[in-house]
Amino acid sequence: MSYIKPKFRHPNLPTNALGFTVADYDGAISTLCAGCGHDSISAAIQNACFLSAIPPHRIAKLSGIGCSSKMPTYFLGKSHGFNSVHGRMPSVATGASLANRELTYIGVSGDGDTASIGMGQFVHLIRRNVNMAYIVANNGCYGLTKGQDSATADLGSVSKYGSTNPFDGIDLASLALLQGAGFVGRSFSGDKEQLEPLIRAAMAHKGFAFIDVVSPCVTFNNHLGSTKSYTETREHLDSMPLDFVPMREEISTHYDAGTTQGVTLHDGSVIHLHKASSDYQTDDRNAAMISVQNAKDEGRILTGLLYLDPNSQNLDQNLKLATKPLNEMGKDELCPGSRVLNSINEGLR
């Protein structure tokens, strides 16, 4: 396992609209296990930010605790990051986004961090529609404490220690749909082609965007009998491919007419959905819930953009928050002064 990240980069690396190369979105070297699905997610986030040409310093990355929550160290080294406490990243992200509504917020969490200790904060984050991309690296187990089942472990999945999970797993995508999330996606860490555009779309969405990413744990949950191993996931994947075309770029059809549908986001970006086996409609929440449930019943893992409401009202809008970031306001905007205080005194006599 390597412990030094090579600094060498090809001198002719392509640049994005801001003149940055993908190396400008690098983080520290990963300390996760070799082959960990999470590293693929880190790479996808890094590439998504590069491709979408977001200035690295205008991104804030937040996480809770666990293997998943270590990830933000491994991408976007020029962005501020906050490794908060277990299950509480949603509240920290909420406060951060209120303080400065202009940054792009990426939250990274895990199945333990979100579906167990953080369940309360997660559903309220959805309910408030905080403007952020929230990515769960979902491996069905607790890695850092050596392989206990998590709340997303599927019923009947066998743990590394040989026990069979007797509980039904919590499906975070279904929960997000039920709770009213405006953007719900699911993907697989091994499906870069789908995950990258999905992350780009999530960041472009002006509201809460949730992506549940099945991300196998090579050390504790990649054996025969586990429903979240690489082999098992690949075998049951029912992937709906997509492309993301940002607002700036001219929309050119890469696909034959009739095989794709385009969904326009609030900022003018377009998500192209490649029609797979079904006539999936991303704007129908109830249908999405049924599709996810049917797939589950049939042992398929339905991935792609499951639901999108590009016009959902986010927290900043609902609070009628001023356009100028709150953290940039000074005395003039905030302090009413002595004259007002004297009149308050008068009213208290």
Binding site: F82, V85, S91, R128, L326, G337, N345
Partner: protein, 626 residues
């Protein structure tokens, strides 16, 4: 029978049923006395209930301006049959008892050492009003009218107050004034008015009070205004008595004062969180991102916020928490006052943590200290907890007016912006460049190339790189301790008062008293009473933790120091023992933890008892004073 006498010096207590509108009538009574320029301190002693349980309202009138509870009841106004037996018993011999005599008083409630005033409140209101709600509400106003006659309250002031209260609702004004007049007239015709206890404008009121322009306000409203003036932009909270009205008041003022004139949008954000964990998490997130953010809570919330307070301590994130203290956990005493979160707040969270605490004693200090808390939190990059309590937060206090210096500038502490980062020779988030333990922080989004770092709990080195090295950890936590030392110079210093001259001293011991927050008013009063009795006691009012170095010296200078506080375990005493080099035997606790605020009389009694039993031991410890 010898009746209690007193001009501008007495205690009136109202016994009501909660949810019947008594609070606003009782407030009217207290406010009228305040408007007469006579020092008054009202206290609502209420149950954790919306309707139907006993509730009391104490109004202390004190010509000298003592605002703490005195203890004892000179006059009881009883309109609650549920509590009447206890209420009759609580009146001091020679005192007065006003009751609703629509039904005759039971034989067992008759005492021959107090004077009874029966007013047929129910009967009068049934006769006058058709509407059942008015019959109930105006009963309270009728007894205020009767009290006005009995105590000589200026009637025009009551009328003015009603006009202010119901501005624009003429019908309500006239029905209320009518009820007042009914009570007033009945009392004037039936009783010998005014009583030997009564009010008198000017009179014997202490000159320093007559000359000032006091206001009557509660600490929670003052703290909310402090948050407005201190530039708070993010408030995240979870409703909990007795702190709820902090954010309620903040919302009210923000809606008036923080609307952007151009767009009509808000220069603030208030989020009612799902619980106190999330409330504190939001404050931490906003503070990390450079907004002035706060929350308000009480004991149970403080427990839930502890994890985040520890993170904010280690991650060095500015946080302001207003803790309005109350009694114990869960059910039972959430509407009763205590100072019992001291240790939980001072050492909030696991690991080695010490939090900065402020102890306001008046609404004016709630305002000033909340403003200061935002500066301190950013200067010191750490949580600052203002330790108010129910008594201060929810009761109206006569207070010097709030003052504002328009030259005030928010002190955002050591924050490097883009220019700062460009001109800095070397920057590391946890590099102690200035040697005061306070490092330079950066905000997300400030600079394209420099200043980004990963915020974590404890596992990091000076450059904010992940590290599990023992040396790095020790260096970091030792620096945090250095920062806590620095904080001593930033936080408000304690207040000392020169000793009161005592003609003939009954003790050879050098005595002192330490107190803080709402224990201060009754403590000052008790010290004056004890001086009269021959016991000179020097005082120090603690206003912040970490403790000022004067505290050590002050304790050193005395033989015996009373620590007056409102909890069972003498938490401030323990904190002092822990943090200062003090022999525990020097510190004697004077306590009240019944849920009602400590009284001057209780303090006097405990100190006298303690002097009786303790003098011998102390003298033997200090041979030079024997």
């Amino acid at each position: 029978m010898k009746q209690i006498k007193g001009i501008n010096d007495f205690m009136v207590k109202f016994a009501n049923v909660n949810g019947t509108g008594s609070a606003s009538a009782n407030h009217l009574f207290a406010k009228a006395i305040f408007r007469m320029g006579i020092p008054v301190s009202p206290r609502n002693i209420f149950p954790s209930n919306i309707q139907g349980l006993p509730t009391w309202y104490e109004v202390r009138v004190s010509s000298k301006g003592y605002l703490g509870r005195r203890g004892g009841v000179d006059m009881m106004v009883c309109v609650n049959p549920q509590s009447m037996e206890k209420d009759v018993a609580s009146v001091a011999p020679g005192g007065y008892f006003l009751f609703d005599n629509t039904k005759p008083l039971a034989q067992n409630l008759k005492r021959d050492d107090i004077t009874y005033f029966g007013v047929p409140l129910t009967e009068m209101c049934m006769r006058e009003y058709d509407n059942p709600r008015l019959q109930q509400l105006l009963k309270n106003v009728v007894y205020v009218g009767a009290m006005a006659a009995l105590l000589d309250i200026k009637f025009s002031i009551l009328k003015d107050l009603l006009s202010d209260q119901f501005k624009g609702k003429e019908k309500l004004i006239s029905s209320n004034v009518h009820a007042l007049e009914m009570g007033y007239q009945y009392a004037t015709e039936t009783f010998n008015c005014p009583l030997p206890i009564k009010l008198q404008i000017g009179g014997n009121v202490a000159p320093h009070i007559l000359e000032s322009e006091h206001i009557l306000m509660n600490g929670n409203t003052a703290a909310a205004l402090g948050a407005i003036y201190g530039g708070a932009t993010v408030a995240a909270w979870y409703p909990i008595t007795p702190s709820t009205s902090v954010v309620d008041a903040f919302a009210k003022y923000a809606e008036r004062m923080r609307i952007d004139p151009g767009s009509g949008k808000k220069n603030f954000a208030i989020v009612q969180a799902e619980d106190e964990l999330a409330a504190m998490g939001m404050v931490v997130g906003a503070g990390w991102n450079g907004a002035r953010a706060f929350t308000a809570t009480s004991g149970p919330g403080l427990s839930l916020m502890s994890e985040f307070l520890g993170l904010a301590y280690f991650a060095e994130v500015p946080v302001v928490l207003i803790d309005v203290q109350r009694s114990g956990p869960s059910t039972g005493m959430p509407t009763r006052s205590q100072q019992s979160d001291i240790l939980a707040a001072a050492y909030a969270s696991h690991g080695d943590t010490k939090q900065v605490l402020l102890f306001p004693a008046t609404p004016r200090e709630c305002f000033d200290m909340t403003v200061q808390a935002f500066d301190l939190a950013e200067q010191l990059q750490t949580p600052v907890i203002m330790m108010s309590d129910l008594d201060l937060g929810m009761n109206d206090w006569m207070s010097p007016p709030l003052e504002w210096d328009d030259n005030y500038q928010m002190d955002r502490g050591k924050v490097l912006d883009a220019d700062g980062l460009d001109s800095a020779e070397k920057w590391g988030r946890y590099l102690d460049v200035d040697g005061d333990g306070i490092c330079y922080r950066t905000l997300p989004g400030a600079h394209p190339e420099k200043g980004a770092y990963f915020t974590r709990g404890s596992s990091k080195n000076e450059m904010a790189v992940y590290s599990e090295s023992g040396d790095d950890y020790v260096q970091n936590v030792d620096r945090l301790l250095r920062k806590f030392e620095t904080a001593k110079d930033y936080v408000p210093a304690p207040k000392t008062h020169p000793p009161i001259e005592v003609k003939k001293t009954k003790t050879k011991l050098k005595l002192a008293a330490l107190f803080f927050g709402t224990s201060a008013s009754p403590a000052y009063e008790a010290v004056e009473i004890l001086a009269d009795r021959g016991y000179p006691i020097n005082t120090m009012r603690i206003r912040a933790f970490p403790f000022h170095e004067n505290l050590d010296r002050f304790i050193d200078d005395h033989d015996l120091v009373f620590v007056i506080e409102q909890n069972r375990d003498g938490q401030m005493r323990q904190l002092i023992m822990n943090e200062c080099q003090i022999a525990p035997v020097k510190l004697t606790s004077v306590l009240n933890y019944s849920g009602t605020p400590i009284t001057a009389r209780a303090i006097v009694r405990q100190i006298l008892e303690s002097l009786d039993t303790k003098s011998a031991d102390i003298v033997s410890l200090h041979p030079e004073t024997a």
